[in-house]
């Protein structure tokens, strides 16, 4: 299957190795992966801030860049949600070529969503055998895409022990602009996640934004927690 890889700006600059692992994983699962070179930011920072005009400009750009692709896969539940859920809404509200946004939404997938729901794969290998992990579920993946079980299914399908986490489904407090506008509350939300974290080898998440924030807070507190992007964890699971 042909896949256009939309790396997202955060993964491009902060999780480059994880994004490369996502590509390796897709290759391994038999996909032919392409990288449309003119891709930039999906526009979510502007969308969430209420800057509709800017969000629409970035959405239009992304729609142009991804025109003519088959499946589009992103290593981020949040950016996937922007394309799948918020592009059609933006286009609808501005009366602007809704059909193009809807068509893109229908062929766009978060990485875990794509592997489980589109490829129908849940077993990857035994590479994570003996490894204890906790899963942080990004809110967009969880409540917009309803990926309630997919990350856990895949991690367990790669041999990991997924340890229950009291605050597993709670927001980490990132929220994009929220993390810099309401920084004390945002940090306290991260603390709640970190305070309830069970004893694990890795904290795994499919969203780089959440990881940047949780990792930043945990390092500021002096914790020694290893955060691993879901793409990297799964690629390690294959091997």
């Amino acid at each position: 299957m042909k896949v256009a890889f939309f790396v997202t700006c955060l993964a491009d600059h902060y999780f480059a190795d994880a994004a490369a692992d996502a590509v390796r994983l897709l290759h391994h699962l038999g996909c032919e992966v392409g990288f449309p070179p003119d891709q930039t930011c999906c526009g979510q920072p502007a969308y969430n801030a209420g800057r509709t005009r800017e969000a629409l400009r970035m959405a239009e750009h992304t729609l142009d860049v991804l025109a003519g692709t088959d499946a589009v896969v992103l290593p981020s539940g949040s950016c996937a949600t922007m394309v799948k859920k918020f592009y059609p809404r933006l286009a609808g509200e501005s009366g602007n070529r809704v059909s193009r946004a809807t068509a893109l939404a229908e062929r766009t997938w978060d990485l875990a969503e794509f592997i489980v729901r589109r490829l129908g794969v849940t077993r990857l290998g035994d590479g994570l055998a003996g490894r204890r992990v906790a899963v942080h579920q990004g809110c967009h993946a969880l409540r917009e895409l309803r990926l309630e079980t997919e990350p856990t299914t895949l991690l367990e399908g790669a041999g990991a022990e997924v340890v229950p986490w009291e605050a597993q489904e709670e927001c980490c407090g990132f929220g994009g602009l929220f993390s810099v506008k309401m920084t004390a509350v945002s940090a306290a939300m991260a603390d709640r996640k970190l305070e309830t974290l069970p004893d694990v080898d890795w904290v795994v998440s499919g969203d780089g934004g959440c990881v940047l924030h949780l990792d930043g807070r945990s390092r500021a507190r002096g914790d020694a927690i290893e955060f691993v992007h879901l793409a990297t964890a799964l690629w390690r699971g294959v091997n």
Binding site: A19, V185, D215
Partner: protein, 460 residues
């Protein structure tokens, strides 16, 4: 003050750690009960039904308000219309003065908090006693409620023990039952002495002119039945068309609020005692309060917030609210629903920055019994705030800059390389947004090589 949200929330988290602990514990317990309460029924179907009933009622609000007024009058109740908080206060104080009321008992009511009724009554020389246990605690402490349903849930048992030991002479380590009994002693006498009982309403049924009140303590039953005069202060969005609608809403609201199948007490009040000597008050007054609600109803998007039944489920589900409780928000309606309702009731300018006091995690929308799309409404208010220039100019400039860069791929790649290098050297701390980020977190570590570079070199 609402505008101090960011600073006030930082102070509460830093200086009053007990608040975060108490609020987190209590709201998680409420939220778990709500989940169980929903799981026992086909909650999604109930919620869709309730949304439909409320939408219908709000669409025909003029009709149902007129019907409710006519029914209430036919039942012998008196109906008063208050356009704003000042009018509502005048009406209630007028009623109290006319009947020479010296002492008032109150049931827990958010709308009377909204209109600042208690200070106005006290200024008129009338004694006011809150009879909900949580409200009574807060009245002794001279604090506003922190939560729609559990007004004192930000307080620890220890704090209430200390308060009651000092004010009611209870043992310093009195258990919750002992504390409740001590309050009950005081409140029993207050009920007997009071000339007027003031409550809000959970619902007002148009078909029958019925004020419906849900509670667990029995204090509302006494407030509405013992004093000579009962005044119900009711927001105009509280209407339901028929008694059969009420049957559903009583159950759904209780499940959303506490996971109970129904409240321990439900009082249905249609009018005063029929004959002198019968049970019930001599006079029943219903004060219908607008106070900004028709403006909210006229708003293209925000009107959906008027479906709210004040169950508190969105507060209980909200990880933002859990860090501070309600006081950080600076208005009686706090948490997710406050952040979408307050801009409508007070005007967006006066409610800034509440639409931004959310990570948009969406837990509130999943919990809401009337399916208010709170994250989408927050975004609508953010859009209006941006359009009206109510956000910091640096933020607007940064986002405009992002859009310009992101629509020019060459420029985007260049900016990415520069940004990564700055970040690696820690110089990014000087950027306005990353400076804020670094207040409470270590700076992110950029990848040594971007994905683009890795892709060009070939990924094996």
């Amino acid at each position: 003050m609402i505008r101090d949200y960011a600073a006030r929330s930082r102070e509460i988290i830093r200086d009053e750690p007990g608040v975060r602990e108490a609020v987190t514990g209590a709201t998680i317990a409420f939220d778990e009960k709500r989940r169980k309460g929903y799981a026992e029924v086909d909650a999604d179907a109930w919620r869709r039904w309730a949304e439909g009933v409320k939408n219908h009622t709000l669409t025909h609000l003029d009709h149902y308000l007129t019907e409710a007024e006519a029914r209430l009058r036919a039942n012998g109740a008196q109906v008063h219309w208050a356009a704003d908080a000042a009018e509502a206060r005048e009406i209630v104080i007028g009623l109290a003065t006319r009947r020479a009321v010296a002492s008032v008992v109150k049931g827990k009511s958010m709308v009377t908090e909204e209109i600042d009724l208690n200070p106005a009554l006290e200024e008129a020389g009338i004694e006011v006693i809150e009879t909900d246990l949580g409200e009574y605690v807060l009245q002794l402490l001279e604090e506003p409620p922190s939560h729609i349903l559990g007004p004192a849930l930000h307080k620890s048992l220890r704090q209430v023990q200390d308060l009651f030991a000092e004010r009611l002479n209870t043992a310093p380590d009195g258990d919750p039952d002992t504390l409740a009994r001590a309050a009950r002693e005081v409140l029993r006498n207050a009920f007997i002495d009071a000339d007027m009982g003031i409550t809000g309403a959970n619902f007002l049924v148009a078909e029958t002119g019925t004020v419906a009140l849900i509670e667990n303590e029995g204090n509302i039953r006494l407030t509405t039945s013992l004093p000579r005069v009962h005044v119900a202060v009711v927001g105009i969005e509280k209407l339901l068309p028929r008694m059969t609608d009420l049957a559903g809403f009583l159950q759904l609201t209780a499940r959303a609020a506490t996971g109970q199948p129904i409240g321990c007490f439900v009082s249905l009040i249609q009018g005063p005692a029929a004959e002198p000597g019968d049970d019930g008050p001599e006079e029943v007054h219903v004060v219908l309060v607008d106070n900004g609600r028709t403006d909210v109803l006229a708003h293209e998007h925000a009107w959906e917030a008027l479906r709210c039944v004040r169950c508190g489920a969105c507060l209980n589900a909200c990880p933002v609210y859990r860090q501070t409780g309600g006081h950080a928000y600076g208005h009686v309606y706090s948490g997710p629903i406050g952040s979408v309702l307050d801009p409508g009731l007070l005007g967006l300018h006066d409610a800034m920055p509440l639409p931004f006091a959310s990570s948009l995690c969406g837990a509130c929308e999943d919990a809401c019994p009337v399916r208010i799309p709170i994250p989408e409404l927050l975004l609508e208010w953010r859009r209006e705030a941006q359009d009206e220039g109510l956000t910091p100019w640096k933020e607007r400039a940064a986002l405009a800059g992002l859009a310009s860069v992101a629509t020019q791929p060459g420029l985007y790649r260049l900016a990415g390389r520069i940004g990564s290098r700055l970040g690696a050297r820690g110089a990014a701390r000087a950027l306005p947004m990353l400076g804020e980020w670094a207040r409470d977190r270590a700076l992110p570590k950029p990848s040594p090589r971007t994905f683009r570079q890795l892709w060009r070199e070939g990924i094996e």
